[in-house]
Subunit: 69 residues, 12 copies
């Protein structure tokens, strides 16, 4: 596995329920066009507030994928 070359892209996913779901939403959307995604790293966790309640979470991740042979 060590001789692969990876590319990393930066995505922001949203969710009303929490951090894990926002990350999964970003990865699911990206997987429609990007193949061979292998790992992610959380870069930033934010959210919007409406009337003193968290309205939705926004989590920014970097995703690494193998450049195809």
């Amino acid at each position: 596995m060590s001789e692969h070359v990876y590319k990393q892209i930066k995505l922001t996913g949203s969710s009303k329920s929490g951090v894990e779901d926002a990350v999964q939403n970003a990865i699911a959307k990206a997987s429609e066009t990007v193949k061979n995604m292998r790992w992610f790293q959380i870069i930033d966790t934010r959210g919007h507030i409406d009337n003193g309640r968290i309205a939705h979470w926004q989590v920014t991740i970097e995703v690494g994928f193998t450049l195809e042979e």
Copy 2:
């Protein structure tokens, strides 16, 4: 919305259940005195340990709110 001026404050909320709940607790407490909160960003996630178990989470956030017209 773009011509508003926002102020940001730094809060730490606690929870026995996890990250999302600790953030919500901080926002709920602040909303008693601060109006027009719009967004938050997680700055630091810590917690206390008791007998090898997480006793509670402490999450520090920045919260932005509109300065009233």
Copy 3:
């Protein structure tokens, strides 16, 4: 409590379910050999992706414990 000396170690825990569980797994494993753990701080949150789904989370923490008298 203020006159104690603390040591901090860096651990990475894994979980299929999410951030909180990965942290708890790291602390539980460390508690087999380390006594008097008092707090943790999340340093990095990553994960592996398999077929467009999060396969598992990997959370790196620093854990502080009291050096025994």
Copy 4:
């Protein structure tokens, strides 16, 4: 001047024209309620895009002011 105690607050100002104007807008708004502001530091410069053009700038600053004697 050296024996003063200063407090620093974090503000975000907006402008359609550019960085300097967004900073000035934040300071002007804050000066309605905060006295004795002495300096600022730019922390973050962002903006919104509409149809391939910059719609407005959003500049976050820290502002230091003297705590009144």
Copy 5:
């Protein structure tokens, strides 16, 4: 708007006149191929010097855009 997934790309634009113009040049060039750009953040501001005068500015930004449905 909160349920969108965003991708962020990193661009460097140049200008002889200043920071705002360099950002606008990068966005204008990118808008030829990227749709739905929503925001930018300045990451780095540099420039070249010729004979003791600023020859041109080079501003690096991150630009976020909505992944199309």
Copy 6:
């Protein structure tokens, strides 16, 4: 203590004698209006120079205090 919500403010204190005294001066001044201060963290340590001697120290701290029940 774990279920409290804390707010953090940023202060700069000065002293002719050194770091510890500058921090104490900032906390003493803030305690005139802020109750329930619990901890501080040093963010930045600066000073002014006069004729090749340190004229005074300026230490910037963040102070956390409990939001009153």
Copy 7:
């Protein structure tokens, strides 16, 4: 050259021999599809260990290239 707009991408290359070779491998792979690459910057240098020996190096770089006219 100063009026160009550049895009930057993030890549990770691997090598059994060392840092320079891992960077070259990433650039060589990317050059199959990306034209006009001009510069790189090392962001992170890691590696895998097998039986107390470095098995391979993994170097993450940012690569800047000119957006074609």
Copy 8:
């Protein structure tokens, strides 16, 4: 050009009008004694406030110049 050795110095320039002018003032002053300056990078942007208005800008830059052959 690639075989040159560069030295970098750190300067702070001031201006009543804005960021670009403060950078130009620092470079113009340094060019009286430093030859072969090639590039700069903005490190910090601050300013002083007088009566709720920006009195002047202070921009800190690093400047790179070729060590003479």
Copy 9:
């Protein structure tokens, strides 16, 4: 000395009197079990506040020591 391998550990020491004493306390405690400590670096300086006075200082350091031959 140059061919040694060093290990670094992270410690937090406390003191009622100040920064230097908190560092010395951490080193003295560690020296009961760690031999060949050579240098330290301050990572973080915090403290607790009681009734508007600094109750004690907490200084986190990294300490490097030679791995024994």
Copy 10:
């Protein structure tokens, strides 16, 4: 592999020949007492100078290893 818990330690290795050799020296020394080392990351690269020549390199790494079952 994903359910392991890892510990990370910080080491500094030295070498007269260069970066790769200094990393290998640190790992080789640590492997005398630490089992199951899996990866490393370079944290800092320094060196000593003697008479205008590099006398030796000092590279600080973090090394991750599996906590034994």
Copy 11:
């Protein structure tokens, strides 16, 4: 004072007694050749250990001084 151009240099001073004295030693030595020093900022605080005691402190500062008219 606002229209001056400042240059900043980086110095490391040592002392057996503590942080403040190490900074003063660096400034005193630099004042033999540099005029018009105005401010300093602490960048790094380190020290050497001998037999479980702090042997001396090493404090790195940046010092700003006015470029002479």
Copy 12:
């Protein structure tokens, strides 16, 4: 050695062969005018690309030297 005062300067060296050679080139050039250089630290590693190959490396270092007695 502990009572010396050190000054640190920032240099960028270039090489077609790699990181170590670029550092050595910067130090060799500086040694023509700077005496008593003692250590260096790598700050940034970049390079230029020509036709999908690394054309040369550019390594930026900080170099510390003793201020002469």
